[in-house]
Symmetry: none
Subunit: 440 residues, 2 copies
Amino acid sequence: MRIEIVAVGTELLLGQIADTNSKWLGEQLAAIGVASHFHQAVGDNQERIVLALRTAMARSDGVIVCGGLGPTHDDITRDAIAEVMNVPLERDQAVVDKVRGMFSGRGREMPDSNLRQADVPVGAVIIPQTKGTAPGLICPVGYKVIYAVPGVPYEMSDMFQRAIAPDLRVRMAERGEATGVIASRVIRTWGMSESGVADTLADHIDQLDAVPGDGAGTDRGGEGDRSGRTATIAFLASGIEGIKVRVTVGADDAGAASRLLDDEEARIRDILTAAAGDVVFGIDDEAIEDAVARAVAVDGLTVGLAESLTGGLAASRLVNVPGASRWFRGSVVSYASEVKFGVLGVPVGPVVSEEAARAMADGARRVLGADVGLSITGVAGPDTQDGQPPGTVFVGLARPDHGTESFAFTVPGDRERVRQYATIAALDLLRRTLAPGAAG
Amino acid sequence: MRIEIVAVGTELLLGQIADTNSKWLGEQLAAIGVASHFHQAVGDNQERIVLALRTAMARSDGVIVCGGLGPTHDDITRDAIAEVMNVPLERDQAVVDKVRGMFSGRGREMPDSNLRQADVPVGAVIIPQTKGTAPGLICPVGYKVIYAVPGVPYEMSDMFQRAIAPDLRVRMAERGEATGVIASRVIRTWGMSESGVADTLADHIDQLDAVPGDGAGTDRGGEGDRSGRTATIAFLASGIEGIKVRVTVGADDAGAASRLLDDEEARIRDILTAAAGDVVFGIDDEAIEDAVARAVAVDGLTVGLAESLTGGLAASRLVNVPGASRWFRGSVVSYASEVKFGVLGVPVGPVVSEEAARAMADGARRVLGADVGLSITGVAGPDTQDGQPPGTVFVGLARPDHGTESFAFTVPGDRERVRQYATIAALDLLRRTLAPGAAG
């Protein structure tokens, strides 16, 4: 079963609002094993909505059209659907009464424009409105179907769960399609390039591709229509969030899918670790700061920062973790050199150097009363500083019983990205050092 | 000129990431007077990318296809374009050399998979990469065109501005299309609600609507093809970035558009200031930190922060401003109470209070050697602290010759949003205090 999503609204084309509805619907369809190979957005123009719907109906088994069901003159999705179905609109008295009742319940007279919302293409079934005034529609077109829902996100999601998902399940069963689940897991890495991750996993992907099955492997399918039972793998370069490896599996039920994902995650971790060490820092929504919190918890240590280059960015990420107050002491954002000298005790001299990074880490430990001091200094650009080019980053790390170490990195990008890369590089170093191999 | 946007990536269909690129491109096209009647999203599947491109080429004058140009096996946009153009791919040695150079510049060997990025459909022109490894493409198809750009947002936007927008202007001129311009300006405010801004400007909008013109006023048509000559006004609630008022005008050339925008900006500033005081903090991309930098420059003061609630977020925004090192000394991120007591000299006791905020501001001035100390303490939630509910924010401000003041705010949202609102509220206070009426 392939369902195309068509979002209606000129404001989407003009980029005035983001199309979060299509994103949400795509997620929901994937979760119930319905394929979605195309999304479209189209403006409030009847001719073009009709064209978009006909295009979608030609290449998919059905459409969810979202938006344009409201009461104003530019809400014309109903008219467009009637044109595609080649039927007239008929006013539904029950909907009129219901909308009138909602107005009078709030002590208001219903403006006549609301009558439009009761116009229904002949042959369509109404999805009753429970949260707004505009009803949804289920419109059979031959053996295919057009679902229409309002563009207001909570009205849309309510109607999808209450009426569309059940209707889709019935149609899939009628077509004899497996009503299994498709599930994904994201394995997050830091320290390898996208092509490096891809090359390292290439043999494994070839093996998956070689598994006999129905469109499984890396068929690039993965858009929900596979009935295969092996994994597909995709890569996502996420800039300052690292390189993500997404594994997708199809299975009969959620439990079986979860077991397949566990197996595949273990295999990918093994391959990446053998090739490049401890590069996997998290799963799904886990960010680098969550990995740091886990690593810190192993020995129950407290952490203090000294930040120059990153100007507080590293601290602001650590405080995102719930419970950070148990282990995070704070940060001395020593942007001015005099603050490095006066507060942190850095020897007067160049402040972009490994020596300065170590002195900053020691200063952070001492001033903030922390077990572990982490420091970041470097050059954001565009100019060089202390003879170092933009993108130069030095990280200092002071730990009990280990002395104070320093590390050099070179990161790409403009000022903002240099800061963000430097932040994740420093936090990744902290994670790896405090709990080698224990993260993720 | 009608350009369709085609976003490529299975992750878009699965709802794993939001399609922010299409939104951004839609905005940019509208700004240069190019219509965009349809957007599509399609997965990493060659057959379907080809179908999406052919559909788009049939109903528009050209396509911007975004994503699928990377080095991995699922980056197949190049192959799909070659199929639509009905030409082979040819490896471009200059691109190979450039990508290899980027790797060796970072002391790394180029993985072979990167060679794919140098494959160019015969007849296509390369848009050189300046920020990443994948080049963009300009591919003529008869008298129409396919532009291909990477899905990484900053690479995409760079190539649009550097190569695609100029090429579109040439094509529009060749078609004899009005090369008038549509220009927008965003007036950024902090301190009023969206409906408050809308109500305040309602009379002015009514006056604009009453001006006879071609589809001007607040008419919603406008998918980039408006020829009206008066201003339209829209509101955009941008959460932690405040409420934005966007003014859009059409004019014969950039100079005329700029004069219309100047007039309209002045009128809107007057109306908002008369109703609510100094709420306009910036124009277009100017963020609150830019407004702070301007305000600080008036008297040549230096600034130091003491942050608890915001955990370094305020500092990390200030260092975004070029030249911040001239006036920004640093921040003491005193997340642990002991750091407030020991480093900043806050009296032992409740740390979420106006007294603590004032002591922190004094401490920031003293410890960081700054003229002005600004402090932020409060409760991010979900639990209360020192008897204060989540969303409570106290800001301290210590200035030469003014003594030390404190201010209380209540802000909405979860932990993350409370921090972000507190940051902008504190920085807005600093801006207003240091240079009343001089901002924007």
